[in-house]
């Protein structure tokens, strides 16, 4: 009998603790919520994103906030798990009652959050790559990074320039990798490139020699494209050199970070990928409208964190800034007006490119916002 009574007490105490822990805070601030994969397989995207959001929320507040209102940032780490992302999104919308959400490091996390933000009617700026996030257009969902389709197109264009027509594909089993694979297959057909191999690997795999051996033995392959994000592609790159494969190696923009070069080491030499102007800031022509923004961002980031910029940091910056700029234009944080203002972003110069959104285009970047870069001596070099 006592046992039953105690279970009651224990349960009530437990739930109260939970209630206290979830208590939110007050008043006038602009509440920005973020779900970031700061740990887990996507940590090399999520960690700089988190740092940038926190840094810039601080900077904006120190400069007086937006229209006199401070920015209150709430960041949750989903560890790369889509279901945690969904539950944290719920928490942001229902419990923390945020005005806008910036985040969803991975495509999976973003897609998990989408039904929740659509139902909760909260504007959401995603930091993930797959084209499915904005096609078909969803009312409350926007994104800052370039899509995987754009990456595939950019790579195919470069292949054609080099006179190569037979491509081997190695894609990751993550949301981004799968979507990238679909887009690559579709774009290849459009552009007349033949796909001679289609291998997959797991995001957490530490060895992909089996898959690469098959490609090495495939005499038809003229180049290899790897579609993945985070550290998986670094493992692929290392194994690639270890097996002595000399074909040109392409990556997607899922590795546009110095972390990739650091992890893959010398193996990354000669790898080409499409990236935002941010990573080659100093190499951009002075007349490039992006130059001022990316150089400034690079300076601030490197001073604050003593490590080099990556496009992911840039995407987070763009996301936050577009959101705050929209608050200014909407004259407040009424979610519907805020959403409209985000959709009306025109000519915004960001680290990813020049953003012009519309009711049909919730990303706003065009193909020339992407630059083909090559890894030369451990650094990015613009391919002219």
């Amino acid at each position: 009998m006592r046992i039953r009574l105690l279970s009651t007490v224990a349960a009530v105490v437990g739930l109260t603790l939970g209630a206290v822990a979830g208590a939110a805070s007050a008043a006038d601030p602009i509440k920005v919520g973020a779900i970031i994969s700061a740990t887990g397989p996507a940590s090399f995207l999520g960690d700089p994103e988190k740092k940038v959001l926190e840094l810039y929320a601080d900077r904006v507040n120190q400069a007086g906030g937006v229209a006199g209102r401070p920015v209150q940032l709430t960041v949750y780490d989903d560890g790369g798990a889509a279901d945690k992302a969904a539950s944290f999104t719920k928490r942001l919308i229902e419990s923390d009652k945020v005005d806008v959400i910036v985040g969803g490091t991975t495509t999976a996390a973003t897609m998990a959050a989408v039904p929740l933000v659509e139902r909760g009617e909260v504007p959401f700026i995603s930091l993930a790559g797959a084209v499915v996030i904005v096609e078909p257009v969803k009312k409350w969902v926007f994104k800052t990074p370039h899509t995987d389709r754009m990456a595939a197109e950019k790579v195919m264009d470069d292949l054609k320039k080099r006179g190569l027509t037979k491509l081997a594909l190695v894609s990751e089993d993550s949301g981004f990798g799968k979507s990238g694979r679909e887009q690559t297959l579709a774009v290849a057909k459009e552009r007349g490139i033949e796909l001679v191999a289609d291998e997959t690997y797991g995001a957490k795999d530490t060895d992909v020699t089996a898959q690469l051996t098959k490609i090495r033995n495939n005499a038809a392959a003229q180049a290899v494209l790897v579609f993945g994000l985070g550290q998986g592609p670094a493992v692929v790159t290392k194994n690639y050199r270890q097996l002595g494969i000399t074909l040109p190696l392409y990556q997607s923009h899922g590795v546009a970070s110095k972390e990739y070069i650091r992890l893959a080491g010398g193996a990354a030499e000669g790898v080409r990928l499409p990236a935002a102007g941010l990573v080659v800031a100093s190499q951009l022509a002075d007349s490039d409208p992006q130059k001022k923004v990316v150089v400034e961002f690079t300076k601030v980031y490197e001073e604050a964190f003593s490590s080099e910029v990556s496009t992911f940091a840039g995407h987070a910056y763009d996301g936050l800034m577009i959101a705050l700029d929209a608050v200014k234009r909407a004259g407040g944080t009424d979610k519907a007006k805020l959403r409209d203002a985000i959709e009306q972003t025109k000519g915004y110069v960001g680290t990813g490119g020049i953003v012009t959104m519309s009711a049909k285009d919730h990303m706003g970047l065009s193909l020339d916002a992407f630059h083909m870069v090559e890894v030369k001596q451990g650094d990015w070099a613009l391919v002219k």
Partner: protein, 291 residues
């Protein structure tokens, strides 16, 4: 054809050597205390992380590995003393939960100390692949197999030739009898944890250049090391080593010839088959408790 097979066998043997070390660690601890130490994988992780971060800040490689080893041994003894010893008489389930709790705790601690990103450790003797009968091999693989081999032989000698080793063996055969002849079984348990931790840590350090080192690296390595130990017969050291190599090679061959997506499942399918048909593993004692 042959080159392909050789390629798979080489990568299988490399990772199999790590599974062997982990399995051996499990066996040693199980022998001394009848505890399955689910934190074994974390010892591997500590070795890898310590070596990577220390060398990155300029410490020479051998010293870094030694420090990593020492650190892991301290952690192992701490786990033995504060968690396992206190729960001596608890049920199997409770002990399993304790070591799992220890592994979660250690992972959390590692994240705090070393951060959540992936650490790179340079290969010990460079990355130029060695061409061997049509397959290419990383020089680091030789280090892995070599170190594992040396350690295993050393452990064998330790158990058979030194007094402490024999005391540990005696404890595993019959704890009460060992106590009766004056062996301090508590010390034996602590020593077994320290030894397994050292094995794991060295394994972690040599494999880090291949797999990168990160706080979650111990999870799968630990679990597969466990399957290696069970495959060989829980408590049978050489069996665990054989088990590790078998699992590693089977995995690589499966990935190459059947399906690379199901690579991780290979170890567990093997284990189920073994448990269903040969519950005591390849070399374990016959006569399982059956009801």
């Amino acid at each position: 054809m042959f080159a392909e097979l050789l390629q798979y066998m080489l990568s299988g043997l490399t990772i199999g050597a790590i599974y062997a070390l982990a399995g051996l660690g499990f066996s040693i601890i199980y022998n001394a205390s009848h505890v399955i130490n689910f934190a074994q994988g974390e010892f591997i992780m500590i070795g890898g992380m310590a070596s990577a971060t220390l060398t990155a800040s300029g410490v020479p490689l051998p010293l870094a590995i030694l420090i990593g080893c020492g650190g892991a041994m301290l952690v192992g003894v701490a786990v033995a003393k504060f968690a396992v010893e206190r729960a001596r008489d608890a049920s199997t389930v409770t002990l399993i939960i304790i070591t799992i709790g220890a592994s979660i705790f250690l992972r959390g601690l590692a994240e705090l100390v070393w951060g959540k990103d992936f650490k790179r450790l340079d290969a010990f003797s460079g990355e130029t692949p060695i061409q061997f009968l049509g397959a290419s091999m990383q020089p680091q693989s030789l280090w892995v197999v070599g170190c594992a081999g040396v350690l295993i032989v050393a452990i064998g000698l330790f158990f058979n030739k030194t007094l402490t080793g024999k005391a540990m063996l005696a404890t595993s055969h019959n704890r009460l009898a060992a106590q009766l002849v004056g062996i301090d079984v508590k010390r034996v348990v602590l020593a077994s944890f320290a030894l397994s931790a050292a094995l794991g840590a060295v394994g972690g350090a040599v494999v880090a250049p291949i797999t990168f080192s990160y706080t979650e690296m111990g999870i799968m390595l630990g679990l597969k090391g466990f399957t290696a130990a069970v495959l060989g017969g829980l408590g049978h050291g050489p069996g665990a080593v054989a088990g590790g190599l078998i699992v590693g090679v089977a995995e690589a061959l499966g990935a190459g010839y059947i399906s690379s997506a199901y690579k991780d499942a290979v170890a567990f399918v093997i284990i189920l088959a073994v448990l269903l048909f040969m519950p005591n593993g390849l070399f374990g004692k016959r006569g399982a408790e059956r009801v």
